[in-house]
Amino acid sequence: MSDARAAILARLRSSGSGGPLPDLDTAVLERRHWSAAERVQRLRQGMASVHTEFLEARPEDWPAVLRAFCEREGLRTLLFGPATEAGHRLVEAMAGSPTALRPYDAPVETFKTELFQSVDAGFTTTVGGVAETGGLLLEPGPREPRLLSLVPPLHLALLPTSTLHDTLWSAIRALGWGQAPPPNALMISGPSKTADIEQTLAYGVHGPKRLVVILVHDLPGTPA
């Protein structure tokens, strides 16, 4: 509808709207700073308040922590992206586990029904976290597809404590999403939830019913 385009733009341009642009005073965002330990604390508090669960791990043992969790929970299948470094370590660690690793390495159309109906959990990495409100930052893509963190009823996410940002605003700037945004980027604070029935909170309405963060304490001096 190029006619519509031209007509709309002409109307907007003919409004005579203009004048100096108001300044953007971002001081209120800039002054939010926390120490590394406080960032971890804030993130945990924020996410736990919306039912996110946490597993504690060290850089060297997170695959074992994850395996123990899967087996404790009796997960039958764990979907993951095989091409990441974390994926490689997962493959090693899960050898012989009753929880079967299922690589997400083919177009979704080839296994959509299986994805919706018989995958117990999905594992993803993250590209960071947001301390202020508590949230994970994800860049789904070829190596970790978009639905990995959405369709399985349990989402397991790997979060090194060294990757936490103070705010969403500082994260967007640090990750360069404003320059070269990935096709999809996400901030996730907890499992899927709703309160559309009488304002009563219920979890797991469409997406994951549980979000479990494997918090990898990779900062010097932080407790494992």
């Binding site: 519509a4 108001p22 965002l29 177009p107 969403l168 996400l186 899927s192 709703t194």
Partner: protein, 510 residues
């Protein structure tokens, strides 16, 4: 949640009965306004709603909870004001550069593989959506929450063309089952209680048994809707913010149905009002902070979903095609007025309705409009015509609770006053839809007479003399007094006016 968001994440639960009060509202709830049947009548609908004690209790409880939750998110008034100033500046800058940003958005989207379509009217927008669906042979559509699609009456349009258009936001799903419209822009089913939803699910969902357990009801919907996501040929969504520089569509939600609708089906169509654009991705951060806190008192929603393209060549999932439909529907006309342009700053958080004493009492359906509450009272008349929605423009006590909490500082009372003027005066140069069509000779004459008296102190003095001397004789049946006395006694002037006392006795002395 949503304006284009589903952020509803609840508040204090538990049922609540209307309080037993010594002050039972005395007015007759059967009173109807004299509007003609073809015109929407806020007064008539509001009056019906006021008679529904359960509805009033539901809204009061929900709004009380939402106000408390919002307040808890803004403990520091200085930070709140700084954030509002920033949010307002972001939106105001975006509007000042609107035509340029829309073109930039289109180019950035194109670069990302998102195709942009323009629609001046809802009919055009519907036709575009239908065309895209038909081109793919799509017959099953799942929808994320979108108020713009409500403006378009898209569901009805698609159903009429043989396409299933299923709302997947839980609240929207609930009201769609009953062929209702949203009563709140963030919490569409807020007017319904658990019992009603339980009955509805047991009757309308196959194999469902009756339960009032919210987790079980939610699980029921999950089961139905996940199958729908799996089978859908296309997903439709709104847009909370569109970023011009990066060609990014931002969706804010709690449920995940927005991500399901935009990432599972092979085709994603997003619809947005043309005002939704911002310049840079980092501009989204303060708006998001304001949106989630103002709407439902959440520091963040479950998901902030930034979509900057369809499935890339090496990706395993995501839609093959993403389209963005930019809708005008009267917005460019609103844009043309420097004062009214502030209407377009709105980020659809719903805080104005949560804090509105009128909305709280009558609920969203009474407004007979897509957008209820304070923002609706300024937006709807500008879209539909100020004369046609004259009762809506006056459906406010101008108390200012809305503008006090508005995260982007829209001066709603000032705009209402301006629209009241537009409705009754056809000013040359005004671009307001329906200007002057609410004019009546009665009101014109009344205000002229009012001014004629009050600009002449002697006439005022004479009127005051009569009012005080004959104060007991004011006829209760006078038109305005009749309305006043529906709930109140007749106001009784003092035996002598202040001015008369001072004239006769001089100023008091201490």
């Amino acid at each position: 949640m949503h304006g284009e968001t589903d952020m509803n994440e609840g508040g204090p639960s538990g049922r609540f009965a209307p309080s037993a009060s010594p002050l039972v509202h005395p007015h007759g709830v059967t009173e109807r306004s004299p509007a003609t049947p073809s015109d929407p009548s806020f007064r008539a609908s509001a009056t019906r709603a006021l008679g529904d004690a359960q509805l009033r209790a539901n809204f009061r409880r929900a709004m009380d909870g939402l106000m408390a939750k919002r307040a808890a998110q803004f403990p520091d008034p200085g930070d709140l004001q700084a954030l509002r100033d920033l949010g307002t500046a972001v939106r105001a800058r975006s509007l000042l550069r609107l035509p340029e940003l829309l073109e930039q958005l289109e180019a950035s989207c194109a670069r990302n593989g998102i195709r942009v379509h323009w629609a001046e009217t809802c009919d055009q927008a519907n036709a575009i959506v239908l065309g895209l669906l038909k081109a793919k042979g799509a017959t099953r559509v799942v929808k994320g929450k979108s108020m713009v699609s409500e403006e378009m009456h898209l569901n009805a349009f698609l159903e009429a063309h043989g396409i299933e258009s299923l709302e997947s936001d839980l609240g929207e799903y609930i009201i769609q089952l009953d062929h209702e419209t949203p009563s709140h822009i963030i919490m569409p089913a807020i007017h319904k209680n658990k019992g009603q939803i339980a009955r509805q699910f047991s009757q309308k969902i196959k194999d469902a048994t009756y339960t009032e357990d919210v987790d079980e009801l939610t699980a029921l919907a999950r089961k139905v809707l996940r199958q729908k996501f799996l089978e859908a040929d296309a997903g439709l969504s709104g847009v909370n913010f569109a970023v011009a520089e990066t060609g990014t569509l931002c969706l804010v939600e709690n449920e995940g149905n927005g991500r399901m609708s935009t990432h599972v089906p092979p085709l994603h169509i997003a619809v947005m009002g043309l005002e939704k654009v911002v310049a840079r991705l980092e501009d989204v951060a303060p708006l998001y902070a304001l949106l989630t806190r103002s709407a439902t008192g959440q520091p963040a929603t479950t998901y902030l979903n930034l979509i900057s393209g369809p499935r890339a060549k090496d990706e395993m999932d995501g839609p093959r095609e993403v389209h963005l439909v930019i809708l005008d529907n009267g917005r460019s006309r609103i844009y043309g007025d420097p004062q009214l342009q502030a209407t377009l700053r709105c980020i659809r958080c719903g805080a104005c309705m949560n804090h509105c004493p009128v909305y709280t009492r009558v609920g969203g359906h009474a407004y007979e409009a897509v957008y209820p509450g304070p923002i609706g009272t300024i937006l709807t008349p500008q879209m539909e015509g100020v004369g046609r929605r004259h009762d809506l423009i006056h459906g406010s006590s101008l108390c200012g609770a809305c503008s006090e909490v508005c995260p982007v500082e829209i001066p709603i009372p000032d705009i209402l006053v301006r629209l009241r003027r537009e409705a009754t005066h056809a000013d040359a140069g005004s671009k307001v839809a329906g200007k002057g069509t609410g004019q009546t000779m009665t009101e014109d004459l009344a205000w002229r007479a009012w001014a004629a008296v009050l600009k002449r102190p002697r006439l005022y003095r004479l009127s005051a003399w009569f009012a005080t001397r004959f104060r007991g004789l004011i006829p209760g049946g006078m038109p305005l007094l009749k309305a006043w006395t529906m709930s109140r006694t007749t106001p009784l002037p003092a035996p002598r006016s202040l001015q008369e006392r001072i004239r006769k006795g001089g100023l008091p002395h201490v």
